[in-house]
Subunit: 372 residues, 2 copies
């Protein structure tokens, strides 16, 4: 088998070691005579896997003890509605900072949820939309924050536009007073970030964490305590925290694959080591774009360029189509930009091998020489 050079945006490439482990023990987990997915979620065999996955998230992200790690279902899209359901009480306002299409969707679901379930107001605290697209995050002085807001919501990396906040150990998120909630679907665990500045972080697993079908929610215990209590139990994040994500049947095999993926990340040296690798991978592509004499063009402000989703344009849609087609013939998969924006996008999450990125950069140079 030759492994595809997989640049999918999500579901995306997973570490080969995590997949091979799953294959090797698929029909007989740990000598039990059963697949891990045939085990009861209330039994010792599965519970060990479950708690290992939870503990790996906390360890790799260096979460303090006052944070809970939850595995739930529904994707980040479910969280778009469930976050305001839990945390936007009547009489309060939630501030949304929008830097791309996912932030827009979060706003629209929050508005609908709040109206349907007697919640508070949704306020657009900032939007960097310009000419129907997004190329940057807002400056501190562009934020119109509500005093006493229920929370501030942001999207750390906008997967479709390749627009990312420059977060790092000494580069915090812009200053806000209210609890900070972040959709970190597409960059969580890809670089070092001080998680203690966030009160809630959520994301679909299908980029850096595992397969689709698992949703991660990381929250300060004090924030979970404040959540609305008059909701069905299943919708209260509190319920899942109290039950260690075993309130109802969790996606057991998905969580097992999260375990495999995070065990791999740990064995590679953790987040600091993967960040160094990710930064180099991204630089290889951005350097190729910027050094192409204008043949390739990245629309994103240099300070906001994502190290997870690299987007660029070619001179014409025809050339973009030819680029994707030729790349596919060389087993480079998933390079077509999101249908809403066009162009090219290379998603280079943790599991994407540096050698694949080098091959893509080489192909870009060759293509530019031939067609430029």
């Amino acid at each position: 088998m030759s492994r595809a050079l997989n640049f999918n945006a999500g579901p995306a490439s997973l570490p080969f070691a995590a997949l091979a482990r799953a294959r090797d023990e698929l029909i007989d987990f740990d000598g039990s005579g059963m697949s891990v997915m045939e085990h009861s979620h209330r039994g010792k065999v599965y519970e060990k896997v479950h708690h290992e996955a939870t503990a790996l998230v906390a360890e790799l992200l260096e979460l303090p003890k006052d944070y809970d790690v939850l595995f739930v279902q529904g994707g980040a899209s479910m969280a778009f509605a469930q976050i305001p359901m839990n945390f936007l009480e009547a009489g309060k306002t939630a501030d949304y900072i929008v830097t791309g299409a996912w932030g827009e969707k979060a706003v629209s679901e929050a508005r609908a949820m709040s109206k349907a379930a007697n919640g508070g107001e949704v306020h657009m605290a900032a939007s960097t939309q310009q000419d129907k697209t997004y190329v940057r995050v807002p400056r501190q002085d562009e934020l119109s924050l509500t005093p006493g807001a229920a929370y501030v919501h942001c999207t750390s990396n906008e997967t479709i536009h390749g627009v990312e906040y420059a977060l790092g150990p000494s580069t915090p998120f812009p200053k806000v007073q209210a609890p900070l909630i972040c959709d970190m679907s597409s960059d969580i665990l890809g670089r070092r970030v001080d998680m203690t500045q966030f009160d809630v972080v959520y994301g679909g697993a299908q980029k850096n964490i595992g397969p689709s079908g698992v949703t991660i929610v990381i929250a300060k215990k004090s924030m979970l305590d404040r959540g609305r209590k008059d909701l069905p139990a299943i919708f209260q994040y509190r319920t899942h925290a109290e039950n260690k994500s075993l309130y109802n049947t969790p996606p057991t095999f998905g969580i097992y694959l999260v375990r495999n993926t995070l065990a791999w990340l740990k064995s590679e040296g953790g987040v600091a080591a993967i960040e160094a690798r990710n930064v180099k991978k991204a630089a290889a592509l951005y350097d190729t774009i910027d050094g192409s004499g204008g043949f390739y063009r990245c629309p994103v402000d240099k300070a906001c360029r994502s190290i997870m989703n690299v987007v660029w344009r070619l001179p014409t849609p025809e050339l973009e189509e030819a680029f994707v087609k030729e790349a596919e013939a060389q087993q480079m998969i998933g390079l077509k930009g999101h249908r809403s924006v066009g162009g090219i996008r290379a998603s280079i999450y943790n599991a994407v091998e540096p050698a694949w990125v080098d091959a893509l950069a080489a192909f870009m140079k060759d293509f530019a020489k031939r067609r430029g």
Copy 2:
């Protein structure tokens, strides 16, 4: 590897053929150089699997064209809240027929949902609770139905108590006027049922359909049309129907395993064939219980005994504990009754081999002879 005799209630045993197929193609699906879980949910390779799984559900259940099959997330527990959210409008009443613990939970989540989101009334149309447990379904004359109800909700098989409606091709559900909604988590696809008497059927996949993490919803298109429109898009079942369960990222690998599981069921002869096998499996256990001279005792009324979850008691809790322990030593797994009721439960879903049930019946006879 010797395969365990798996009587888990869910997650439960899966067909070995479905698992072996998953193992064989785990790291390279269809020569693509990628696992199926690494494929985009918007790509041709995955979409084929997705639509095959959907089509198999419709084919095996003989659904007419005016029904939609959805794969969503959250488990049946999410549906407990999402069903009233969608279908219980203000000014209307929903009638709940309760025959066990899962029906109770459906009522309690519906009450909370309705209050939180301005829905209608929840009415207990019948409950067969007696001495803190459930041993039967209600008679037609016990149903207190509301004229013009938004819907009637029932649980076709109560997994914990082993209490099932005697549904069949010529044995319909008791007569109701309003749309009929059924939690069929633990018996769907286990026997022939006229699905056209139901307007919505839902269930977690982790019994007869596949792994946990996939929730199935089967609904009449006209019913979906009637659902509340002022909800976040993710909560409207309509959204998932319009997008063929691809509104947001679905649990792709889970749905792939559903495909494998249902392909196996079809190859075994479909629902009629599996029903014949299931009826024999259940009879082997009930006959052993009834023929034990009172050592084993099944509390459930004969007409309501589940062919999926067979529950019974032994003379003392100590004997029950010894029974479970000895069985486990013979690799018979999952026989402990639900923690809320105690006793013994053998879940004998579609993938549980007749030979395993025969081995269990033989063990029961031997145990009774030694300890009776």
